[in-house]
Amino acid sequence: MLKTLIQNGRVIDPSQNIDRVTNLLIEEGRIAAIDVEPQSDMKVIDATGKLVVPGLIDLHVQIREPGFEEDETIESAAYAALAGGFTSIAAISETNPPVDSAAAVTYLGRQASEADHCNVFPVACVSSGRQGEEMAEIGILHNAGAIAFSDGQRPVSNPELLRRALEYTLMFGRPVLNRPEMVELSRDGVMHDGSVSTVLGLAPMPAEAEDVMAARDIRICEATGGKLHLLAISCSGTVDILRRAKDRNVGVTASICAYQFALTDLAMRGFHTSLKLNPPLRSQDHIDACIAGLKDGTIDVIASGHAPRSSEKKMCAITEAPFGMVGLETALGLVSTHLVHAGHVDWPTIIRAMSTNVAQVLGVEKGTLKPGADADVTIIDPDANWTVDTSNFRSKSFNSPFGGVQLTGRAVETIVGGLTKFRYDES
């Protein structure tokens, strides 16, 4: 019987309000106990000076297989996730064909199983073909293994469809993940609408495009009693609207992408296509509001917003480049550097937003170190200084604006089901 003791780490588990230096025992792929003294039959992992936390979960990973394997495969995304400290990812369909059939959900699960890296939870489409018109066969998709429903980067523009979807998913207890963006207000936009876009002449994506849609989505959620998660919010107005909704106990949650905390729209002055992101990099006032929202629990989740694009798709004019950057392998480092080391939030807040809350939003039995839970554990060196080297990415794509940037804090060991699936090698 294999026993592994993670010794002398700072164990942080928001699900049990644990934050102390102790030992964690893993046995037969499950969490066995904490505060256990080492025995001769245990394999010991020395975690002195490290954080030992429930495995990180990313609920916003764009999956590009099938259809766009040049960007990313399920296998490469799951491998990149491990390198970033994620033991589970929710795979949101940006595929061709879209994940709107039981076969597609099954295929995703099979590819993930064959890759045998991290847990991959399929997120199926809300609408058939992601066309935003007819509701997909949500019950069949649920039975096939879909844990949530989303049209990915394409917002559900039709309010009637959203209303029906939120009502219908109630039967299965599954959330709808919707990206709040009123596309008529941000059409052909490239960057945040502000004084920087005014000077650069780049088409703007106004904050109101997000605020207005978020308000609409929340109101529909409130009316239906459904489970709505707003993907990748970025604006102060949205944070305000969310905060008021939560005060009314509306069943809405929200996530933000880690990159939002690292850069402002000023970075767009370089016109680099790697910075063409949706939602775009915002101005400092929006970032400050989002940090406040994270601190007071208005924003529940930090995601990577992983959107891999092969190099050739970004080697073009900025207006023609697709949105997105790879994020799985930099998310934790960005958050550690720009939120924790910058003094804005503490590690328990981060772990809650990157594990415990994510499991709750997705309704999966993860994100905890309670005895009996799957032994998904991430060991983090909070003080590790490292330089992002895109050529070392496990992702198939390298479209990151953070190449060459020094970060502090990273995952050093990622354990899935009790097995070490990734260990950081400094050399």
């Binding site: 059409r187 052909d188 502000g194 004084s195 005014t198 000077v199 650069l200 002449g201 780049l202 370089g270 016109f271 680099h272 296509t273 050739e312 080697m315 073009c316 004019a317 900025i318 207006t319 023609e320």
Partner: protein, 319 residues
């Protein structure tokens, strides 16, 4: 050929490899470009004579957007300096076969060229090429971002007619939101001490320009008496999804420069337009062809400005 005497004072004073915008230039650099352009103009009888200053060098016009006057002006400027010129159109290139923009540019670079003159509808494209190539890049207009040589020729025209720009008030009227000419004018004029007003419908003239020291107005009649120069910019219908004003008729009523408005202007007001002009929309024919108009001077100055830019970036640059 040895450097002719009229250019001697300018040799080695330019340090930049590219000309991408006016925002990043100092007032000294802008004045140097203007002075060299003026020198070319005076010493070559309005740039009619050829000067073999760039013999053996090759300039490529890489234009991804339609252009007649700018492309012709750059071609002529290069030829007047003795350079070889290659014309390159996106429609006839491998881009239409799926090659990336950067690969296309690198292929052209490998043919031993010296200067790349780039026009593209996307802001920042010349900058992207400059960062990835080993040749000098001149921005010939990148979407609504900048058009530095147009800005320079506008400023040169004002300087020729009104002298020092310090204290002068220049109004840019029209579609500021989509105008690269407006942005280059704003930076260039402000750096040389002019006061800049942007004027037009609130949907095309953002209040955010006030953050950059620019006065914002939506009332042409109100600002007109204060203006020394009026630069009337074209409405860029092709860059707009929804019309930012109810009708062309209404726009013309509010913002077209006509004879009636000329009565409200200073007696020596200078009327400019970067072209192509929409007669009857931004400017009436009588004003466009009137005694205050210097529109054709602008076109003529374009040649001198582009000769100056090409010479400074190649032969006149500090080693």
């Amino acid at each position: 050929m040895e450097t002719p005497g009229f250019l001697e004072p300018f040799v080695g004073r330019w340090t930049k490899r590219h000309l991408l915008d006016l925002e990043s230039l100092t007032s000294d650099e802008i004045n140097l470009l203007l002075d060299v352009a003026q020198a070319f103009k005076e010493s070559t009888q309005d740039c009619r004579h050829k000067l073999p200053l760039l013999t053996g060098r090759t300039s490529v016009n890489l234009f991804f957007e339609d252009s007649t006057r700018t492309r012709t002006s750059f071609s002529l400027a290069a030829r007047r300096l003795g350079a070889d010129v290659i014309e390159f159109s996106a429609s006839s290139s491998s881009l239409s076969k799926g090659e990336t923009l950067l690969d296309t540019a690198k292929t052209i670079q490998s043919m031993c060229i010296d200067t790349l003159v780039c026009r593209h509808k996307a802001p920042g494209t010349p900058q992207m090429l400059a960062e990835n190539l080993d040749v000098s890049v001149i921005n010939a207009g990148d979407g609504p971002h900048e058009h530095p040589t147009q800005g320079l020729l506008d400023i040169l025209t004002i300087r020729q007619h009104r002298g020092d720009l310090s204290g002068k008030t220049v109004a840019l009227v029209g579609d500021i939101a989509h105008s690269r000419t407006a942005r280059s004018n704003i930076w260039g004029l402000q750096k040389l001490g002019a006061k800049v007003i942007v004027c037009g419908p609130s949907t095309l003239v953002s209040r955010r320009w006030e953050e950059y020291g620019v006065e914002v107005s939506h009332d042409l009649d109100a600002i007109l008496p204060r203006c020394d120069v009026l630069n009337l910019l074209r409405i860029q219908f092709e860059r707009q999804y929804t019309r930012p004003f109810p009708s062309v008729r209404e726009y013309a009523l509010l913002y077209a420069m006509d004879q009636k408005r000329m009565q409200r202007a200073k007696p020596d007001i200078l009327i400019m337009a970067p072209g192509p002009i929409n007669r009857g929309v931004e400017i009436t024919p009588e004003v466009a062809d009137g005694e205050h108009s210097v529109i054709l001077h602008q076109v003529n100055n374009g040649l001198a400005v582009r000769m100056a830019a090409m010479w400074l970036l190649s032969a006149g640059r500090a080693s």
